[in-house]
């Protein structure tokens, strides 16, 4: 009985070892196969990049400023491959078909939220709003910026605006700058002086946007600043 039991145990261990070995080989094979496929795929993509570069060169020779159908199609090719090539693309077709459509869609989506927020939203806020609503097929930051850049040329009621600080916002076309500055001045005059945080609380805006408003009003000469340890305060410009 003893020898029999010993033999089965030996077989059992060898069996387990063998099984493990087989499993390891299997995963090894899977991994190496995956990498092989990946490198093959990359090689294919490399060819595509090369071809697209040569096409870009060909377009350069033509130098047309009208949006030709050919270059538009070419851009969608580039986009689907993930090669952003704006330097040579910029002069051949002002954007992509995809971004134009996206801009139109954004125009519809953003109208109501913009009105709710007083006609202006930071681009990061827009990004959150749009992607949260989508759930799938999310937008990349680049796509959003590119689409927003098309607003003007598509005559949509929205604008992309870049502040001196580099902060980008989307605002309604109807949104009036002078009115905004005038209301900022009114608010500050009412309170005597305001920091960006206080102003944000007062208007129910984000701190980022309220600061930009105050800075804009300062740039126009309606406000002046008091920078101390207590914080950066804005006063009506009495000078």
């Amino acid at each position: 009985v003893g020898t029999k039991a010993g033999r089965t145990r030996a077989v059992g261990i060898v069996g387990i070892e063998r099984k493990l070995e087989e499993k390891r080989k299997e995963t090894d094979k899977n991994i190496s196969e995956a990498f092989e496929d990946l490198s093959k795929l990359m090689e294919k993509a490399k060819e595509m990049v090369e071809v697209s570069k040569s096409i870009a060169n060909k377009i350069k020779d033509k130098q047309g400023d009208i949006t030709e159908d050919e270059t538009i199609r070419f851009k969608s090719y580039l986009l689907s491959m993930g090669i952003a090539n704006p330097v040579t693309r910029e002069t051949h077709g002002s954007g992509t078909q995809y971004h134009i459509q996206l801009a139109r869609q954004l125009g519809d989506i953003l109208q109501a939220p913009l009105e709710e927020r007083g006609g202006m939203m930071a681009l990061t806020e827009v990004y959150c709003l749009v992607n949260r609503a989508r759930g799938m097929e999310l937008l990349s930051p680049e796509d959003l910026v590119n689409a927003c850049k098309m607003f003007e040329s598509l005559k949509l009621p929205l604008r992309l605006r870049v502040f001196d600080s580099g902060v980008m916002v989307v605002q309604l076309q109807s949104h009036s700058e002078e009115e905004m500055i005038a209301s900022a001045l009114d608010n500050v005059s009412d309170k005597g002086s305001l920091t960006a945080e206080e102003f944000a609380k007062l208007l129910g805006l984000s701190v980022l946007l309220s600061k930009e408003r105050l800075l804009l009003a300062e740039k126009m000469g309606h406000l002046c600043r008091d920078d101390s340890v207590e914080g950066l305060r804005f006063y009506p410009n009495l000078f």
Partner: protein
Amino acid sequence: MSFEWPWQYNFPPFFTLQPNADTRQKQLAAWCSLVLSYCRHQKLFTLDVLEAQESPVFNNKKIERKLSVEAIQVVFEELRKKGNLEWLDKNKSRCLIMWRRPEEW
């Protein structure tokens, strides 16, 4: 005879150099006339940049605002351009204040 401070002296933004060019111009003009009238009242002829920062002109204890050394230098430079100030040394730490320009004397 007590010295009469201009209204700007109790206006906190007066003690922060303004980034807006127009505003800054007006601010500096106000500073120049304040410094000149103060020196005339106190019969001061020379000023030391570091000491000046502690003097009541550039340091308003009531509203707890003080003009920074860099800003004082900008004010002094403005005065020099107008011809009301001359540096006494190369480091620009001491200067001569002239209530009237040399040509007016």
